[in-house]
């Protein structure tokens, strides 16, 4: 019998249900794991995503034909049953479970196993075949615990605030930016946001996700009155002319970058920020391994990241592992455009 899911040049395809998962070329029916630009593309006739992911997708993709589904809810499509399960990556992100006559495949999109306090935490889904990312699929990637991250972030902000300088941090507009907001100790000072970040904040707040108060940076905002604030920017905002306004006379802003890549000193130095916070919405090495083991799957497909190395590792661990070619980008420290790769 043919594989339940196959890998095509349009995306992950389910013939038995005649739908695609996270396709990158226009198709009739797209099941989408989450709203990041490398997974949710324009041009599909019909979309299906979780109710939590839907507002951001509508915000980003405009007028689309979007059906929603709750976590755990099952739906019959063609000859298969599908359901969406928390992936812990960003609010509303899902692993998509596809079942036909007792055979179960799971396409996990992007995921992380730690609870970020914002997204519905990752839940392992038992399956026969598991489709995984491997953005950080090397044993050198082990994330800083969330509490330590909060401590380091706030210590950096507080020290800058005491000197009256801005703390400028670059993070993806959907997911990491809000994670920083929830970690920030608002007693230190006000929080300013780049427009792209604030647009996403508004969407998330409107759907009931609690975020601290933020102030959108506009040309007429009195910056001197907010000296010492935490400024949450997109990565491209951080590197561009937009950021220059926060360099007060004789008191330039301190800059930081939040990414899993900050675990590597070389990348940290290349970004040339004052600080690098090791923070990712993707699973680290222990997370990937634990997640895969917990699925009970014998067959694993690796879609993006350090695919060939990770496949070899999985094989040495006794899995039947394959690399499949996709257009998913993972987390890219060198992508200047937030939407290009998140």
């Amino acid at each position: 019998m043919a594989d339940l899911l196959t890998f095509t040049d349009r995306g992950i395809y389910c013939e038995a249900g005649d739908f695609y998962i996270d396709p990158w070329r226009p198709v009739d029916r797209a099941l989408v794991t989450h709203g990041h630009a490398d997974h949710a593309h324009e041009g599909m006739a019909r979309y299906l995503a979780t109710d939590i992911a839907a507002p951001v997708m509508r915000h980003r993709l405009g007028e689309i034909s979007l059906d929603t589904i709750r976590y755990g809810e099952t739906r019959r499509i063609g000859d298969v049953t599908v359901s969406f399960h928390p992936a812990g990556h960003v609010p509303g992100s899902a692993q998509i479970r596809v079942e036909r006559k007792g055979e179960v495949w799971v396409a996990s999109g992007d995921y992380k196993t730690i609870d970020d306090g914002l997204s519905t935490p990752f839940e392992p889904v038992h399956c026969d075949a598991f489709i995984t990312e491997s953005t950080f699929g090397l044993p050198v990637f082990k994330w800083t615990p969330q509490a330590e991250l909060a401590h380091d972030l706030n210590a950096w902000w507080a020290a800058n605030a005491a000197e009256g300088r801005f703390s400028l941090i670059g993070a993806y507009a959907l997911g990491k930016a809000q994670r920083i907001l929830t970690l920030a100790d608002t007693s230190i000072g006000p929080i300013l946001t780049h427009g792209a970040v604030e647009n996403t904040n508004e969407v998330l707040r409107a759907q009931g996700i609690a975020l601290p108060d933020t102030i959108r940076v506009t040309p007429d905002l009195d910056l001197k009155a907010h000296a010492g604030a935490l400024v949450v920017a997109t990565p491209s905002g951080l590197g561009g002319p937009w950021a220059r306004r926060f360099n007060l006379a004789g008191n330039p802003a301190s800059t930081a970058f939040a990414s899993g890549w900050m675990a590597l000193r070389g990348v940290r130095r290349r970004r040339a920020a004052d600080r690098g916070f090791i923070m990712s919405d993707h699973a680290d090495w222990p997370g990937l391994n634990a997640a895969i083991r917990e699925t009970g799957a014998r067959k694993v497909f690796v879609t993006h990241g350090y695919t060939s190395i990770f496949r070899r590792w999985l094989e040495s661990e006794g899995f039947e592992a394959h690399v499949v070619s996709t257009e998913y980008a993972g987390e890219n420290v060198d992508a200047d455009d937030e939407g290009e790769a998140a």
């Binding site: 050198v140 590597l264 000193r265 070389g266 990348v267 004052d274 350090y306 040495s316 060198d334 290009e340």
Partner: protein, 534 residues
Amino acid sequence: MKRFAELFRAVDQTTRTTKKVAAMTAYFREAPDADKLWTIALFSGRRPRRTITATVLREWAAERAGIPLWLFEEAYPIVGDLAETISLVLPPAEAEEDRPLSHWIDEIRKLSKQDDAARKAGILAAWDRLGPTERLLFTKLLTGSFRVGVSQKLMTRALAQATDIDEAELTHRLMGSWTPDDITWHSLVHAPDPTASLSRPYPFYLAYQLDDPEALGDPAQWMAERKWDGIRGQLILRGGDHHLWSRGEELMTDRFPELARMKDFLPMGTVIDGEVLAWGEEVPLSFNALQKRIGRKTVPKKLLTEAPVILMGYDLLEQDGEDIRALPFAERRARLDALGADLPPEAPFRLSPLVPVESLDQLAEERAKSRELMAEGLMLKRADSPYLSGRKKGDWWKWKVDPLTVDAVMVYAQAGSGRRANMFTDFTFAVKDGNGLVPFTKAYSGLTDAEFRKITAWVRKNTLERYGPVRHVKPEHVFEIGFEGIQPSPRHKSGVSLRFPRMLRWRHDKPLDEINTLADLKDMLTAYGGDSTA
């Protein structure tokens, strides 16, 4: 080692020099003397020797981390640093201890005297007692690869602020062949012993590239000479001995034994700044010939006759045991001429001929002759300038010839390491040959980070084939490649090899069919590849 780790983090995580200097100044005020001494040594490139091979360290680290060795080997080039890879794969420390930097260095040295089993036990135990940054530093010290993103100049500035000693004086005190074993903090920094420092060199004076010749002003104030293409060196004759120092403060005395004869020709108490050159019949041999001498600690006889060296004298820094760096260049140079004028031809020494200065146009003409004279360009020195230390603007300029250039297309790309890990930065370029393309050089530098990011994104989408870490890409992007020299090379398919190739510009305007050809390269080889020893 927490204090030292704190210092390392502080200077490593900021790009601002004021913050780096402040962190070092605070450290030099507070740390114990033994640690301060080691810090100066480490920050000035005086690393303890490697005590253990990288191979066994990898094995032990992989074993401790519970991963197969091949996986470690795959991760290493991505991280770009061995000690960092080790510190990242290891499980967290079981019980951290805080002992001084000097304690850990002593531990490392004790290990070097032990057998493998004891070393392994010692190193695993140390890894288990050190926090993440301390572990990285300890491992870097073990592998002899400790480096820090601070220039010696900044370190000296911080030391000057912490001790209230003049910065130029400190720069001189820190020069030479001392190690933390044969000196104390006090005698190095506060009370140097003059007899112990007979081999100590003066800090080199370095020049910036001259971009705007008009900025020189009145030509009458300037003196000019060739910028020779060898190894800058400082020859010291003191106390019956001779010492030869490189610009990087490396002692090169034994590599160039010919220069020992200088003791027969010049008096003790003489220090000369010059260029070590491989020397033929009263003309320099190509840098290629000198290259064979570099990196050899002892020199076989054959090489001594094939590529003998001389010192081409530029400047006199010490005469009759007296530091004369404050005298005007014209005066120092006159004294050097007097010393060197009547030496017999067998003396391994020549005076670098002065180039007369009449006008900017005439200087430009002289500069244009550089390649045929085997020189890199001109050196311009203000006649009344003292001999300063370090790279300073204003009194000295180097005016190098423009590089040779070709337009070539990128055909292969490879990711870099360290600061450039995970970004495509190492490229292979090809020129046209008939209807095909011939790769002829690699180049790694010359683009901005933003350009590297752009090309990286392009490479990801335009890979035709992968050979391990190397991507064969669509021949589309044209770059102007600059280089300093060209030589015949039977090892390369193109038949040529380039000196100092780098990307000068990304030629978005240039279509593929307008790039240079292999015939163009061969013409350059005929014109500039003159090499009597190759």
